[in-house]
Symmetry: C2
Subunit: 186 residues, 2 copies
């Protein structure tokens, strides 16, 4: 079972560094030191691996969100940005969801559905936090939760891409901080 988890971990890294069409079973096998065919023992197809990757990330997000339940809306948003920032810090990785977006039209339908769901979950979580945050005065009263949630996701995803182009992970942080300031300032 160790091997499967390792394979998944390698795949996740490759995905975030090179995109879904940018890595192969062979790459993973090489890094693991086993044969490519053996990977099919764990993942019957690349679609299968892709789905596992998405589910994994979805589960990690859920777990992450659960830990933050007690925090204030503002702190939640801060942590959300920080989560993305930690991607950038790690070799300028980008978010899995962002990766899949680019390849979206070249993806199997089941993966498309799964990734869309994941994205929806994140948006709903953000929206919920923002609704409370706006009511509580953490954020500007004039904000609409839905649009703001989208803006936050966009800034985080886009921020990761900027960081990669500028070869500097702090760009992502300052970009999102700029937005955060705009959301709170009265």
């Amino acid at each position: 079972m160790e091997t499967k988890a390792q394979a998944l971990e390698i795949a996740k890294t490759q995905l975030q560094l090179r995109g879904y069409n940018g890595f192969s079973f062979q790459d993973i096998a090489n890094e693991l030191g086993i044969k490519k065919a053996s990977l099919h023992y764990y993942f019957s197809s690349k679609e299968d691996l892709g789905l596992a990757l998405i589910e994994d990330y979805a589960a990690a997000f859920q777990q992450w969100a659960d830990k933050l339940a007690e925090l204030s809306p503002y702190e939640k948003i801060e942590k959300y940005i920080l989560m993305f920032y930690s991607f950038a810090q790690d070799n300028l990785k980008i978010c899995p969801a962002g990766v899949f977006c680019v390849d979206f039209n070249a993806l199997p339908v089941r993966m498309q559905k799964s990734i869309t769901e994941l994205q929806d979950t994140q948006r709903r979580w953000l929206e919920k936090a923002l609704i409370r945050g706006i009511k509580d005065g953490d954020f500007k009263k004039s904000l609409k939760a839905k649009d703001t949630a989208n803006l936050l996701i966009a800034a985080c995803q886009g921020g990761l891409q900027l960081a990669r182009f500028q070869d500097n992970c702090r760009v992502m942080k300052s970009t999102c901080q700029t937005l955060l300031d705009l959301l709170t300032d009265i």
Copy 2:
């Protein structure tokens, strides 16, 4: 010469819909109704095609920017967002630069350089408009041009991705409008 331009156009569409690793010479040849080998008459390698794609987009941006020289800073930013929105309107395409970001680490060095330059050009253009806009009072005085330029790019790029996931191009528009409001409101 017509064929080369057509090939480039098809490649551009494929790139924006499926990513750089999501289309092949064969795809383009099929759509053109010529043989794959004949494409190598125009583009000696895929890297060559990729570079042409980037240069093409860079030239188009320059031309676009030149036409806007007389507009006010605020109008320029508005048009910038609208340019991205027109991508989304056209089959939920995303920005070429955003596409290349995901595949970045899997790209030939020359392409990496070229795409980074393009991104820099856009950022400088935005920054210049913002510096004037902030001084003129089009935008909040407290804004830093550099960070704001990055935030705008991030929101546009990210907004396109959101639009694709939500299968609705207007999401991109409302996301960026939300940001624009935040940048102007006093």
